[in-house]
């Protein structure tokens, strides 16, 4: 069986990498970090990097942040289950709350009527139906599925909190990024076009084999039923 490494690096947070600290001994952790840094320094320095601690080793958070700072590596956030008794010089992401969100998953869908405009965001537990357009630079988070009865040009995050089985539907699905569970994908780098998209097809985004797939609604219906 595969032995748990002291420190592992995973491409799992939304925009970069997460370094998982598994050992409970400060010296072991530092050794593990040295190995990870040696192999992935380029990735780490050019991405958003979070540090994941367990309840048993989170007391070393500040020591490790300082240790990495000494090596010119900046960490964007620390991820823990519970931020009680944690000292950290960088922002802390507490998973406790996110799990709470996804637990209350089975409930009536929330509905929002109207356009979601630049700079606005919605967060709901469970499924979300938007009757209106989701404009560029707006954000939609749901722990369940997202249905947009209009244009989706903002950024949707379905399955917020880790549910990769969630899906996103829109009359016109054209967001710069799609986030489902703990996956993220961005739209192809085409030049921004001001031309109108006339052949609009209803589309669905969902996760398959750990990547996000977009297909027409018709295709999706055939696949899933």
């Amino acid at each position: 069986m595969h032995m748990m490494e002291n420190v592992t690096i995973k491409g799992k947070n939304f925009l970069g990498f997460e370094i998982e600290i598994n050992a409970d001994d400060l010296e072991e952790i530092k050794k593990g970090l040295d190995i990870v840094i040696a192999s992935s320094v380029h990735l780490i320095k050019n991405s958003i990097v979070t540090l994941r601690f367990t309840e048993d080793n989170k007391q070393f958070a500040n020591d490790i942040l300082n240790y990495l700072k000494g090596k010119n590596i900046d960490i964007n956030a620390v991820v823990v289950d519970d931020k009680n008794n944690l000292q950290s010089s960088v922002p802390v992401i507490e998973l406790k709350n996110i799990h709470l969100l996804s637990d209350s998953h089975k409930q009536q869908p929330a509905t929002y009527k109207g356009n979601l405009r630049n700079g606005q965001e919605i967060r709901v537990n469970g499924d979300l139906i938007i009757a209106g357009n989701v404009n560029p630079n707006s954000y939609v988070y749901a722990t369940g599925n997202i249905f947009v009865l209009g244009k989706l040009y903002g950024i949707p995050h379905a399955g917020y909190g880790g549910n990769n089985d969630s899906m996103i539907f829109a009359f016109d699905l054209n967001p710069p990024q799609i986030r489902i569970g703990n996956l993220i994908t961005r739209s192809p780098e085409e030049g921004v076009s001001v031309k109108q998209n006339n052949n609009m097809v209803f589309e669905v985004a969902y996760a398959e084999n750990n990547s996000i797939v977009i297909s027409s609604y018709d295709e999706w219906l055939k696949l899933k039923n």
């Binding site: 109207g114 356009n115 979601l116 405009r117 630049n118 700079g119 606005q120 357009n133 404009n135 560029p136 630079n137 244009k151 921004v192 001001v194 031309k195 109108q196």
Partner: protein
């Protein structure tokens, strides 16, 4: 008299808020309405220049709210019509020199004597914008057919909606028919699809605006100006008349026009 506070705003800078404020203020005044235009771009005033009233400023809006002058002393009378007054922005202060409460109070006071109080908002979504937004009865959002301007307009509309300002209308400024035809500029419909609020006017690109500003004569005063014509239509719509939208076409001189210009030279 129960006047109306009309705020002109955009989010992005340089899309034509002050030019629009000047034209609408002057246009409404020339149609017989009593109008006060207030420049709320404190620290970066422009409206006085566009209206050609720069050299008449003695007191400004900050003087009024700080009560270092009487309201009447700060009302600058326009040189073309009895119906238009300007309250200029202070140039030596910044946006924090007034509060939205003070502007609201001032607007309420002016409503008694004027039909329209036009608030020329500064760019941005910070304090200066809020000073202009909060007293508004109606808001006109000015945008150009560029993605960045449209995005900012969308942001502003969102903030307005969140503050229960639902009487909003859109002006699309600087449409260039040649570029739209080539597919290099968003069309009127492209813009409306994103912003989905009622359209009250489309202003064609007009190279003369720069010189009109230099001489302090808004385009509405120039009979042959295309942008002036578009502003006149907006005035009619503001006054409740149903005016068809002008077809914006490319500037092509016909045979006779060429002939005429030949003779002119």
């Amino acid at each position: 008299m129960a006047g109306k506070v009309l705020t002109i705003t955009s989010g992005k800078g340089g899309v034509g808020k002050s030019t629009t404020s000047a034209n609408l203020a002057l246009g409404l005044a020339l149609s017989g309405k009593k109008v006060v235009a207030i420049d709320l771009d404190i620290g970066l005033r422009n409206l006085d220049m566009i209206l050609g009233l720069e050299n008449r400023i003695v007191y400004d809006v900050v003087n009024i709210v700080e009560k270092t002058c009487k309201l009447n002393q700060a009302l600058i009378k326009d040189k073309r019509t009895e119906n238009l007054f300007l309250i200029a922005a202070a140039q030596t202060r910044d946006k924090s020199a007034v509060t939205s409460e003070q502007i609201k109070e001032l607007a309420e006071e002016l409503k008694k004597d004027y039909d329209y109080i036009i608030l020329d908002s500064p760019a941005g979504i910070e304090g200066g914008f809020k000073n202009a937004m909060e007293p508004a009865d109606e808001v006109i959002i000015v945008t150009t057919p560029e993605i960045s301007a449209v995005r900012d307009a969308d942001r502003v509309i969102g903030i307005l909606e969140a503050n229960s300002k639902t009487e909003t209308n859109l002006i699309i400024n600087r449409i260039d028919p040649t570029l739209v035809k080539r597919g290099d500029m968003m069309s009127k419909d492209d813009v409306l699809q994103v912003l989905s609020i009622p359209l009250i006017g489309i202003i064609p690109e007009d190279k003369n605006i720069v010189s009109y500003t230099n001489i302090g004569e808004p385009s509405i005063l120039h009979k042959d100006s295309k942008s002036g014509m578009a502003y006149k239509n907006i005035i009619q719509r503001l006054l409740g008349k149903n005016v068809e939208f002008m077809e914006i076409t490319e500037d092509k001189k016909g045979f006779f026009q060429n002939l005429v210009s030949l003779f002119k030279e």
